[in-house]
Symmetry: C2
Subunit: 331 residues, 2 copies
DNA sequence: TCCTAAAATGTTAGCGCTAACATTTTAGGA
DNA sequence: TCCTAAAATGTTAGCGCTAACATTTTAGGA
């Protein structure tokens, strides 16, 4: 493999000029640049990543911190990591998934997820001491921690508003039985869009389930026994699949008798029949965005990143207009 | 961060001795080793990956070749890549997923999948010219290409034998409508276990479907209209989910009326109700094994690796004994 | 005790880049 | 034409490690 030095010789410039053409082309005269580019092409030059990192005082490794409580083989995490991985490897960074903060090793920065508020403070301090940037999946006010989060409230609002626009007036929710930010947010979104539409929020229409197919089945049985609704908003697609299974087993048709909307859009909503309409989180893209933000920091960007990403409605076949009482306004 | 040199000073040895303690501890006297290890611990030393790669004439990047025809977001590929990724990053290698062989860049070796026979020959030659090792997911006789494959015949045999052992005698198969090695192999396994049990292989009991939920639904409708069977072996879990949906919609109970077995075991078999019994491929592990094999080559192992991995039955709730005619022998 | 081969450790140079500073070239006004 | 500041390019040193060879130490037989 050709080295930068060989390219320099062929183009009749100093090695540093070749380096500039690669890393900071504006600093080189157009004429010289073209000569160097031609030489690179002729020698099929491609940079040695290890040498680059070493000279730039990097080690080329990013730590991705995911607490042990989170199962790495769940689809959400897999998509998330795939997004991170794609962005990092494109820039020849390797990454290490850390499950706890026991062992320390060399890395250039951190991508962090699944931490509680006080843990975030602590982690930020830890990183600061080591002079390494941190990007968080979630939200924090800490100035030197970049963060990107999904707007679960907005997502839930969007889903329920869609049902309301289809004419549904009595809409149940099956939430996850877990006290996490996202469950609270999705409930709030559900409630907000009802109230925005002038509909009463009725806690009796909110059911709780384990985040599993069986959880959804159990909740659906309970729901059907107690309430009569025309639509159900599920806090996750997994629950929605369980609800779908149970409703069909009880003889209801989806969407003719009951409309259904899930949340997540990681792909398994497509395995139900009909495929479930869902609020899709761009998880892969989120992972990639986090990685990109971190690399930006490493390349000297100073401005803080604080972002909220809105998930979007992805139509399947599990919802339809209710009665003729459709609100034709918008969707 | 402490460097190897600092460790050497503290332990009062040459830097090279520290390097030996890390990479080849048998070459160092126990006494010295302990002193160095203590120094490393005291200084919280961890090696700089970039420097290591550079000095060892590596670049720390592995190319993972996955043809464009394969969708990266399908669960099989995601698990596969996750396995590769986990093994590589543990050794601080980064990797790049290549979709075609257009651009060339520096890398230490290749992991390759999804190639046809002649493409494998060609790729092996390409890698040989660059003096880089290749590990293939699949099978080849080429001596200098390591390979690891899943034994689809054995897997299918195992599933169908299980049904036979449960007393089933009339077992249909829904295969994927695609002329690939794995579809042929799974059909052969189905056929073989029938014949081994002295049952007749009847081509009329083999149905074909697109590898999708809808494909499975369509095939199931056709199957039910034409044949009366007590069990169905599906070539993929996705198809099995479609079959399950349709059978339930037609009023059949699973497993009481019909037993069902799928193939893949990537997780979505759990989303059906009841969860589908499947032949599980250890895809994540396969990815990790491929990566480990490649790293072994890079570290000087000479012996070729040619491996077949047998997938295993993973019981869900979609199969049960048929009649009292159970063969109690074994499973 | 001396000698020798093997074991243990050390020395030197270099992997391929870039940061930081040094020098040369260029453009354009006086 | 000369001068000056900015633009362009070059030089030097070093990032942190390991390969390859060199030297020292050690064990154990003569």
């Amino acid at each position: 493999m050709a080295t930068l030095k060989e390219v320099a010789e062929l183009a009749n410039v100093a090695p540093m000029t070749v380096s500039r053409v690669i890393n900071n082309p504006e600093a080189v005269k157009e004429n010289t640049r073209l000569r160097v580019v031609a030489a690179m092409k002729e020698l099929r030059y491609s940079p040695n990543v290890a040498a680059k990192s070493l000279a730039a005082n990097r080690c080329g490794v990013i730590d991705v911190f995911i607490p042990e409580s989170i199962d790495l083989s769940n689809p959400f995490v897999m998509h998330f990591i795939a997004g991170i991985s794609s962005e990092l490897s494109e820039h020849y960074y390797s990454f290490l998934i850390l499950r706890n903060r026991g062992i320390e090793h060399q890395c250039d920065g951190y991508i962090v997820t699944g931490l509680l508020k006080n843990e975030i403070d602590e982690f930020a301090q830890y990183a600061r001491e080591r002079n390494r940037p941190v990007v968080l999946f979630g939200h924090t006010d800490i100035a030197d921690v970049d963060c990107i989060d999904v707007d679960n409230v907005l997502g839930a609002e969007c889903g329920v508003r869609h049902l309301i626009n289809e004419g549904h007036r009595k809409i149940a929710m099956v939430n996850v039985l877990e006290d996490k930010d996202y469950t609270v947010d999705r409930l709030n979104g559900y409630r907000k869009s009802l109230e925005d539409a002038g509909l009463e929020y009725n806690p009796k229409l909110v059911f709780y389930a384990q985040n599993s197919v069986e959880g959804g089945e159990t909740a659906a049985a309970e729901l059907i026994a107690r309430e009569k609704v025309s639509a159900i908003f599920c806090a996750t697609d997994t629950i929605a699949i369980g609800v779908s299974n149970k409703l069909k087993a009880l003889g209801y048709s989806i969407p003719d008798d009951i409309s259904l909307i899930g949340f997540d859009g990681l792909g398994h909503q497509l395995l139900a029949s009909p495929p479930i309409t869902t609020i899709q989180q761009p998880v892969y893209k989120l992972g990639a965005m986090l990685a990109k933000t971190l690399l930006g920091r490493l390349n000297g960007r100073e401005a803080a990143t604080k972002m909220m990403v809105a998930p979007k409605l992805l139509r399947g076949g599990s919802d339809k207009s209710f009665n003729a009482v459709v609100n034709p306004e918008m969707d």
